[in-house]
């Protein structure tokens, strides 16, 4: 079983976002970067599938700056065999430009399964996975919370509002992983040591011109100052009055 996992380097989710001096991007100074959290579910699924099969290879592919090598190393410390960095100075807002570069790398790679995280924690487009599937003309299931494979046939559950859809597909396929699919492992010390010796192939890519231009990045409008209605259960009646008469939400 040969599995590709496409991962993204993103700012830690506990980070505050500051607008950079260009007014259109986030200031990266002093920011800690991590593997996008949903990508960890994809990596874990790939590792478990390889372990179950008893053979195979798990390859991570990241599109991003030179520093994304660290992100790839973290995935390798979890147990991924090798990495490919599609080196680009910046990741554009046009998800299709990113998908085309990834598809070009994955096409002809002989992958049985191509996994993505459901969404990247920075731009949250949820678009690159299904776009890659379309470009490669492969079956695709997004937001997978449960996966059963029997040989080349799979049944996935994908989350929808208030329930799940059960979806059948056959390999090779593209899946995007949601929280709940598995519990991602932490890199072991042994894994961290082993990761240092694993190969990363760096391939500079030229992305198609972005047809979506970022005009501005702004801080969200600040909420107006709230107030403490009171203390303890006796404040409940006053709160309900305010919700009804002032906020008019009940």
């Amino acid at each position: 079983m040969k599995i590709a996992v496409c991962i993204k380097r993103v700012p830690d989710t506990e980070t505050r976002v500051r607008v950079a001096s260009d007014g259109a991007s986030a200031d990266e100074a002093g920011v800690k970067f991590i593997i996008s959290p949903f990508d960890e579910f994809a990596i874990e699924e790939a590792l478990q599938r390889r372990e179950k099969a008893g053979a195979g290879e798990v390859v991570v592919v990241a599109l991003g700056p030179e520093a994304a090598q660290e992100t790839i190393r973290t995935a390798m410390a979890m147990g991924v065999d090798r990495g490919i960095l599609l080196k680009a100075d910046a990741v554009p807002a046009d998800a299709l430009a990113v998908a085309k570069a990834l598809a070009a790398e994955l096409r002809g790679g002989g992958y049985d399964l191509i996994l993505f995280g459901k969404a990247a924690a920075d731009d949250n487009s949820q678009a690159v996975g299904p776009m890659v599937a379309e470009l490669l003309e492969l079956p695709c299931v997004t937001s997978v919370v449960k996966l059963d494979m029997e040989g080349a046939n799979g049944t996935a559950q994908r989350e929808i509002e208030g329930g799940v859809e059960v979806v059948r597909f056959a390999l090779p396929a593209v899946l995007t992983a949601d929280k709940g699919l598995n519990a991602p492992r932490y890199p072991s010390l042994k894994g961290i040591m082993a990761a240092k010796k694993k190969p990363i192939e760096v391939k500079p890519v030229t992305l198609e011109a972005s047809r979506l231009r970022v005009v501005r990045l702004e801080q969200p409008p600040s909420r107006k100052e709230g107030r403490i209605v009171g203390e303890g259960p006796d404040a409940a009646a006053e709160l309900v009055r305010l919700l009804r008469e002032e906020a008019r939400v009940i």
Binding site: G162, V164, A173, A236
Partner: protein, 325 residues
């Protein structure tokens, strides 16, 4: 003429609320560009298009694709049908709701049309003949403003964000063809969640519990409060989900869902930055927490400082009284 295509969404033959939001948003674009709105309805037939009054939300035409294989979401068939219609109509923009279905569908359509896509958009406009959007990034910690440099512009809209006004248009119903295509994936079943309840991303009221609930057994308090509102969904913080107290489908925050209800009630949630990111666009925020210095109170419009085990039952009682009276 710059026509706009609004893709609607149905479940079990009934058009979902987001359908009118998509049509209304498309109307705003059409007015900005000087064009018309086509609403696309895809299903197995017998859809109650009239009840939804898509003309009243701004559709000049309602194109109905009825095909036996489209009763539930068929990813490949829906994508091919939308893409074919988009090509036929030569639209300046295609608007899709950013629901579970729309988030799966829109990128497929974008790839088929070789067109750029802006996902989960919260504002839409026209400047100098170009479509512009705003969308929350970093789970709402920042807003990104974008301009489309090519057409068609594909846009998916965050549900519950666009307030549908009144636009009296004809909404003339016409049949449209399904695109023939091989289904690479097949949806065999749609299962309602066990609780069968409203989804946090769509509810008008969300009541969420956090670490302060101290255990899964106490979430009955949160459920009772949600029940008192009548139309509320139960949510949870990452701490409560990671502890295994609640299903991940209920998680609100950066690695869960982003919600924008009319009213968000945070019970026993301290207000970690990744949680605040997921609910800060709620219209009104209420917090109940015993720690007066908890960050949640800085995000909240109204707060009660106190023991949630005393405050919440009383609040439930007061809400019931208010709604009954």
């Amino acid at each position: 003429m710059a026509a706009i295509l609004a893709v609607t969404e149905q479940r079990c033959g009934a058009l979902r609320k987001v359908s009118r939001e998509a049509v209304w948003a498309a109307r705003q674009l059409a007015d900005g560009l000087g064009g018309t709105v086509d609403a696309l309805v895809i299903g197995a037939g017998g859809m109650d298009v009239a009840v939804a009054d898509l003309g009243g939300a701004g559709a000049d035409r309602v194109l109905v694709v009825a095909d036996a294989s489209f009763a539930s979401y068929a990813p490949d068939g829906y994508a091919a049908t939308v893409a074919e219609q988009a090509k036929r109509g030569g639209y300046a923009a295609v608007v899709v709701p950013a629901t579970a279905t729309g988030k799966d569908l829109a990128p497929r359509v974008a790839a088929k049309l070789d067109a750029p896509l802006a996902s989960d958009v919260t504002e839409l406009g026209v400047e100098g003949g170009k479509v512009t959007v705003a969308r929350p990034v970093y789970a709402g910690k920042a807003i990104q403003r974008l301009v489309f440099e090519s057409a068609p512009a594909l846009v998916s809209l965050r549900p519950n964000t666009f307030v549908v006004g009144r636009a009296a248009r004809a909404g003339t119903v016409e049949a449209a063809p399904a695109a023939g295509c091989a289904a690479r994936v097949v949806v065999t079943e749609t299962r309602a969640a066990e609780r069968g309840a409203l989804d946090v991303a769509e509810a008008d009221v969300v009541v969420s519990g956090g670490r302060g609930m101290k255990g899964p057994e106490h979430f009955a308090l949160v459920e009772d409060l949600a029940g008192a509102f009548g139309n509320a969904a139960v949510g949870a913080s990452r701490a409560a989900v990671d502890a295994g107290w609640r299903p991940h489908a209920e998680q609100v925050g950066q690695t869960g869902k982003t919600v924008s209800p009319q009213l968000y009630v945070a019970v026993g949630i301290s207000g970690a930055i990744q949680h605040l990111a997921g609910m800060r666009t709620s219209k009104v925020i209420v917090a109940v927490n015993r720690d007066r210095d908890a960050p949640i109170f800085r995000a909240a419009d109204y707060g009660i400082v106190g023991d949630l085990f005393e405050v919440v039952p009383r609040l439930t009682e007061e809400i019931r009284k208010a709604r009954a009276g």
